[in-house]
Symmetry: C2
């Protein structure tokens, strides 16, 4: 592990993904490792992006959606027009995520109630069987 650049195997170990997955993400332009001849060398930037990709996936975003989110993280070196567009996109995405979070919270509460109800029934049965 040369601190800065990592081989594909090292990446696989660190992030628990297959080499196929990394090549696939490169083909989809989600990451862009350097080349030493044929071989891929993954930079710090690639690792940061991969982290975000995997998190995005856990949230149920498609790779295409994630690609757009990733662009949003590249704000620094953009033109103003592009920034405004990106900013707008971020707003929408944020609203969607907040909505999802709210709904998720609600469902969690319902599930909690359901479990509590199950508990009650179990308790009743235990009492009545003594």
């Amino acid at each position: 592990m040369s601190e800065e650049l990592m081989t594909i195997r090292e990446m696989c170990a660190e992030f628990d993904v297959t080499a196929r997955t990394l090549r696939f993400y490169e083909a989809k332009e989600l990451i862009s490792p350097l080349r030493e001849g044929q071989k891929r060398l993954f930079t710090k930037r690639d690792r940061a992006r991969l982290k975000l990709i995997l998190r995005g996936k856990r949230f149920g975003f498609s790779l295409e959606e994630i690609r757009q989110l990733l662009n949003m993280y590249d704000l620094g070196d953009q033109q103003q027009t592009q920034m405004l567009r990106t900013y707008e996109l971020a707003q929408n995405r944020l609203a969607a995520m907040e909505a999802q979070a709210a709904e998720l919270a609600e469902a969690i509460q319902e599930l909690r109630d359901q479990i509590e109800w199950g508990k009650t029934i179990l308790a009743d049965r235990n009492i009545s069987s003594e």
Copy 2:
């Protein structure tokens, strides 16, 4: 709309899904409409379950996962063994959902910061261009 039983078209309209989807869910044993000859008639129970199915999908659960969650909602008429198993399943699912909610909250905060940062840059540019 006979209040109690609904045709497939009525279901499609009410839940904004296709007939194919409803038949597909029946094949997967997520819903089980009555039959009047060949034709399906959807009950209140089917509608309640479909609601949960669609919500589950929004959370990114697979249909198989949703099927298990649905069984959880059928606690009432189960044996104790089955209930314990189901209860356990509910606990796991709840933990997973809470973890997801936490992670989501974190991501939302990061996104918010990112947007704030973008705003700052925009503001700076506006000032420096005057």
